[in-house]
């Protein structure tokens, strides 16, 4: 398949994919690696990495295994990133598609609405939403989705508008197809590639957002996450650097992996679309 060929010529993208699979595997295997869970106190606090046997990354302020927290933290990062992205797509794609396809006042209203949400500083809105809805996995995911959909709507609108201007859409109209059939059957499939690329980058952004919320203490209190680990260690940065260093590194690697994959997808999917047709 030529898509894989093109994707695999991008070394960064392949590296990102391997890295992501690694993170996914760790997240899935967490209960087998650390059956006691991330909250168990295993040793005295503030043990530096490799100070005690089996505690490769040391212990935190309460004597919990940092590595165990990291491994469990992967689960919440990936979960929130994925689900909030799907939710954001569910808002942004239909809104952008209708705006771009119908134009006129539909477009006007949809875009004013989108613009409004884009003007609001999105991290501040996420903070307010989570604070008011009480921190939980659900409220965090929802808040991230609510602040992430506007770029999707704009992208889909622009793509739909450009595809709708193509002559094959005129041809579909002349074939007597209904608007919905044209939009779903002819227009949207031709906008999928840029949406996929954007979605992969959105998962990355969502992971960053989630970690930032947790850092501020707005994480789900029952779930160990990378942002929480850094946030809890913030005040002891002078004495125990490793407590904030390793979770941050985990975030960077995961986000980097997703960004690299996004770039690879972009190279593999988009430039050829106009001439080659199928991706």
């Amino acid at each position: 398949m030529s898509f894989w060929k093109r994707f695999s010529t991008n070394r960064g993208a392949v590296f990102g994919l391997i890295l992501l699979f690694l993170v996914i595997a760790i997240a899935l295997l967490a209960p087998f690696m650390f059956p006691r869970g991330p909250w168990a106190m295993v040793q005295r606090p503030f043990l530096a990495p490799f100070d005690a046997a089996g505690l490769y990354l040391g212990t935190d302020t309460l004597g919990r295994d940092v590595l165990s927290g990291l491994v469990y933290g992967a689960r919440v990062s990936l979960l929130v990133g994925l689900i909030s992205t799907v939710m954001a797509l569910c808002i942004g794609v239909p809104l952008g598609a209708l705006a771009g396809f119908y134009g006129g006042w539909v477009d006007e209203c949809a875009m004013r609405f989108t613009e409004f949400f884009q003007t609001i500083p999105n991290f501040a809105l996420a903070i307010v939403l989570v604070a008011i809805l009480e921190p939980s996995l659900g409220s965090i995911t929802l808040s991230i989705a609510i602040v992430s959909w506007p770029p999707v709507a704009r992208l889909v609108r622009a793509e739909v508008m450009s595809v709708t201007k193509r002559e094959y859409i005129d041809a579909a109209r002349l074939a007597g197809l209904s608007n919905m059939k044209i939009l779903i059957g002819q227009v949207l499939p031709n906008t999928v590639s840029p949406i996929i690329v954007m979605a992969s980058l959105m998962v990355a952004t969502a992971i960053l957002l989630e970690s930032s919320l947790s850092f501020l203490g707005l994480g789900d209190p029952n779930i160990m996450s990378w942002g929480y680990q850094v946030g809890a260690a913030r005040t002891v940065i002078r004495t125990a650097w490793w407590l904030s260093f390793f979770p941050g590194l985990a975030i960077i690697l995961t986000v980097l992996a997703l960004n690299l994959i996004g770039e690879g997808l972009n190279d593999a999917l988009n430039p050829h679309l106009s001439r080659k047709g199928r991706a």
Binding site: N122, V230, V255
Partner: protein, 325 residues
């Protein structure tokens, strides 16, 4: 004059947007679980029965919904953002007290990221495919993936704790009572780390955009025309490519302003920078919703100001806007 009309339009739009955010705020208060009055007072026990009763009367919670809404929006319009029972002061005073620090931080970060990002983007595009380009692109990719707060913590660790070059805490040296130039210098040294760590992420964003835009504009016909005239490459890059390539970067910078202002919450938290972001963080722990929502409204207003600035810049660069074709 060509610029005034659209700016008036922008201001009108800005006012409408702020009004809409005020309305959103109102709904958010009502969306919170429990009694809105208790929410406003801070439900963690700050409020006694009497205070909640007063609040109920003040907010007219027995009134019909739309009356409550009108009253709330009316308060916001008259710059009454409510009272912080936690801090014992009107929210507006709290915010105005902290706003200068945040403006200094965000504007500096915005400037650093824009200038640095564009410079690096131009440099990378001029060396496309060579080692310099790979290094700059790699740098951007890395900072694009780095959480703001983590970069800030690491900066404190390296430059403040280990090297001791720069202060990693606060707005100025407490108790030093510097004045004049010495004070400015003191504030500046405190500003370096927060502003550059806040700017890094956005620098990466603008660098990527500038590079892509320079490469794309470099393919356009008028660049070939410029070559055919016999112009030297540096002149072509500066006079023909760069100006055209800046347009999408400026647009993006306007769109990113919101993220910059939001990011300030994290940076201010790490550096104990006494701005509205730090105020928001403190209010989160105290569940001081009046203050949280006030900060939210003011930061949205800041974003609108950023947007108007980028709008003006765009008009200055692009003659096609404002002229009648």
């Amino acid at each position: 004059m060509a610029i005034l009309g659209p700016i008036l339009g922008r201001l009108l739009k800005a006012a409408i947007t702020l009004l809409a955010i005020a309305i959103l705020n109102f709904f958010l208060i009502h969306a919170a679980p429990g009694d809105p009055a208790a929410v406003i007072a801070g439900e963690a026990g700050a409020a006694d029965e009497q205070m909640i009763a007063d609040l109920r009367a003040q907010f007219g919670l027995d009134q019909p919904f739309y009356v409550q809404l009108a009253r709330y929006v009316g308060n916001v319009v008259t710059l009454d953002l409510g009272y912080s029972f936690r801090q014992g002061a009107p929210v507006l005073d709290l915010i105005l007290d902290r706003l200068p620090a945040t403006l200094l931080l965000t504007l500096t970060a915005f400037g650093i990221s824009l200038v640095g990002g564009i410079a690096m983007g131009v440099a990378a595009s001029a060396r496309v495919g060579k080692i310099g380009d790979s290094l700059l692109t790699g740098f951007a990719l890395l900072f694009y993936a780095t959480p703001l707060y983590w970069a800030a913590l690491m900066a404190v660790l390296v430059f403040s704790v280990n090297l001791g070059w720069l202060p990693g805490f606060g707005y100025e040296t407490v108790g030093a009572n510097y004045t004049g130039l010495t004070r400015m210098w003191d504030i500046l040294s405190h500003l370096v780390l927060p502003a550059s760590t806040l700017g890094l992420f956005f620098m990466a964003v603008y660098m990527r955009m500038t590079r892509a835009s320079m490469l794309e504009v470099g393919q356009q016909d008028f660049v070939k025309t410029a070559r055919a005239k016999g112009l030297a490459d540096p002149i072509i890059r500066r006079r023909h490519i760069l100006r055209n390539a800046l347009l999408p970067v400026v647009t993006l910078a306007g769109l990113q302003a919101g993220q910059l202002v939001g990011g300030a919450v994290l940076t201010e938290t790490v550096f104990a920078w006494p701005g509205i972001g730090r105020l928001m963080f403190e209010s989160l722990a105290a569940r001081d919703y009046n203050t949280i929502l006030g900060v939210f409204l003011v930061s949205a207003a800041m974003v609108i100001v950023f947007n108007i600035i980028t709008d003006i810049v765009y008009r200055l660069i692009d003659p096609r806007i404002g002229h009648k074709a």
